[in-house]
């Protein structure tokens, strides 16, 4: 409920309210982007870009709607685009041998989800990390609900095979 007040405040120029909104939503936005892209640096850029897009559209935002789905839609779609583009470029990561790789989640989630296609990763992350219903995912990604269900089923099957 405080979120509506933060959005109102941010629309009216309050940096403090914007920060509350940002701090509330950053962890999940970043984690979702990281799980879809499998790349911490890209996830940071994508989540940051999503917040910047949100700021650009803040005056037009309908306060009755929850902020999270609006933000996650941007994050997940950009993360899918980034992952597809990277695949097309057949990009090879330059690894700084001295740098410590970002830690995986305790159960190795990043590694396992990374084996899925970007489209399957997205629905799995939205369903099981961000906890949206299949109907909500269909709406967020502009997909038929049946497509969401089949991607969820196939994604889960592949994850089981990887265990």
């Amino acid at each position: 409920m405080a979120e509506r007040a933060w959005i109102r405040g941010a629309q009216r120029g309050s940096v403090a309210d914007l920060e509350r909104l940002f701090r509330e939503h950053w962890p999940r936005a970043f984690r979702a982007a990281r799980l879809v892209t499998g790349d911490a640096a890209a996830a940071e850029d994508i989540a940051q870009e999503a917040f910047l897009a949100a700021i650009r559209n803040l005056d037009r935002f309908d306060r009755r709607r929850p902020f999270g789905p609006w933000l996650h839609r941007i994050v997940v779609n950009r993360a899918i685009d980034w992952t597809r583009a990277r695949k097309l470029r057949a990009e090879v990561e330059l690894v700084d041998a001295a740098a410590t790789p970002p830690p995986d989640e305790p159960d190795g989630t990043f590694a396992r989800i990374g084996a899925l296609s970007p489209e399957h990763r997205a629905v799995i992350v939205l369903r099981y990390v961000l906890e949206y219903t299949p109907g909500e995912i269909a709406s967020l990604l502009d997909l038929p609900r049946g497509t969401v269900n089949s991607r969820l089923r196939r994604g889960l099957d592949q994850l089981k095979d990887l265990q």
Partner: protein, 363 residues
């Protein structure tokens, strides 16, 4: 610095840059607002006073020789100021009182009381700040008070939706669980009759009987503003203003080609609508206030323009003066024809401004 703090720094900077680096701006920019109607309203040239004012302020942020503090209001009435630090009442002679750390405030019909709200509380105060009654509700917002001397109603939003309570704090009830979270607006011509937005439409409802008088689908949501005679209702959204008549029929619309419409207020006793528009450029922001004559499509004139962001606008009760909040300049600008009176250091006096809508009340 961790990713979250790094990103916050970038986001904060981008947000703060929404408030503009002022720079001299070409006269052509003031022509950028386009005022259209269902085919008929066109942009009108700005008036000579508008020109003069524009020339004066275009090179600098703020009106020169602004008074360092608010000494008096230029017209009779009292001002209800809502800032981040709380709610203030300013008398005609400039005396001001802080009513407390409330987040929303509105006058009672004749300015005898003030309804205020914060997160979990709605309260009625007298103008000196004494509490008359309170009501505990979750997530209270946008109270609005109407009625006669003896029979009043207050509309407000809570977590459950749009609610209405009698002016003595009794009879609280839910009016619409699905109402859009925008301030509802009481019809000044029909007692206890409220306009609000719900389900993609503007609805006019008699709140005691619950009877819906009309419903008009609208393409956007925004703030609702009545003319003082109750014959016009403007829906003010960033992309356009839709003007309805008293029966909900769409009469006109006002839009800008390149800017956002962020506030509007009918001049008391007229069908002239003061409109505040903001124009974003890559490196700057600019704002204007124009007066649109809704009855005469094509008639609009520039009242004031300046770099940066304008906030709310409010007419004096006698309709002679228009108050424009100018946060970029930290000024309030009072306009009356070609007369301009500015007061500086607004934030020092009241804190960062939140709301002035319908704030100047009662001769």
């Amino acid at each position: 610095m961790n990713p979250e703090d790094r990103a916050w720094e970038v986001v904060r900077r981008a947000y703060e840059e929404r408030v503009p680096a002022p720079r001299p701006t070409s006269n052509r920019l003031v022509l950028a607002i386009a005022v259209l109607a269902l085919g008929a309203v066109a942009l009108a040239a700005f008036s000579p006073p508008g020109h003069a004012v524009f020339e004066r302020v275009r090179r600098a942020v703020g009106v020169e020789h602004a008074a360092p503090a608010l000494a008096a209001l230029p017209a009779p009435g009292r001002l209800l100021v809502q800032s981040y630090t709380g709610t203030w009442v300013v008398d005609t002679d400039g005396a001001k009182r802080n009513l407390g750390a409330w987040q929303y405030a509105a006058w009672s019909p004749h300015g005898r009381f003030v309804v205020v709200a914060k997160a979990n509380e709605l309260a009625a105060l007298d103008p000196k700040g004494a509490v008359r009654w309170t009501l505990a509700r979750h997530d209270v917002a946008w109270p609005a008070w109407e009625g006669t001397n003896v029979d009043t109603r207050i509309a407000y939003f809570a977590a459950t939706g749009l609610r209405v309570v009698a002016g003595d704090g009794t009879g609280d009830k839910l009016l619409d669980a699905y109402a859009q979270d925008e301030p509802a607006a009481w019809d000044p011509a029909r007692l206890h009759t409220l306009a609000y937005e719900t389900g993609g439409a503007v609805v006019l409802r008699q709140v005691d009987s619950g009877r819906e008088l009309w419903r008009t689908n609208v393409p956007v949501y925004g703030r609702l503003v009545w003319s003082s005679d109750g014959r016009l209702l403007a829906l003010v959204a960033p992309t356009r203003i839709v003007v309805l008549d008293a029966n909900g029929k769409r009469l006109r619309w006002v839009s800008t080609l390149t800017g956002q419409l962020l506030a509007a207020a009918f001049k008391p006793g007229t069908h002239e609508l003061a409109v505040q528009a903001r124009f974003e450029r890559v490196a700057s922001r600019r704002s204007e206030v124009k007066l649109v004559d809704v009855d005469h499509p094509g008639h609009a004139r520039l009242l004031f323009a300046g770099p940066g962001a304008f906030g709310d606008i409010a007419w004096s009760p006698n309709g002679r003066w228009l108050l424009v909040d100018w946060p970029t300049a930290n000024q309030w600008v009072f306009l009356h024809g070609s007369r301009v009176h500015a007061v500086g250091n607004v934030e020092t006096q009241f804190g960062q401004m939140l709301q002035l809508t319908n704030s100047w009340c009662c001769r």
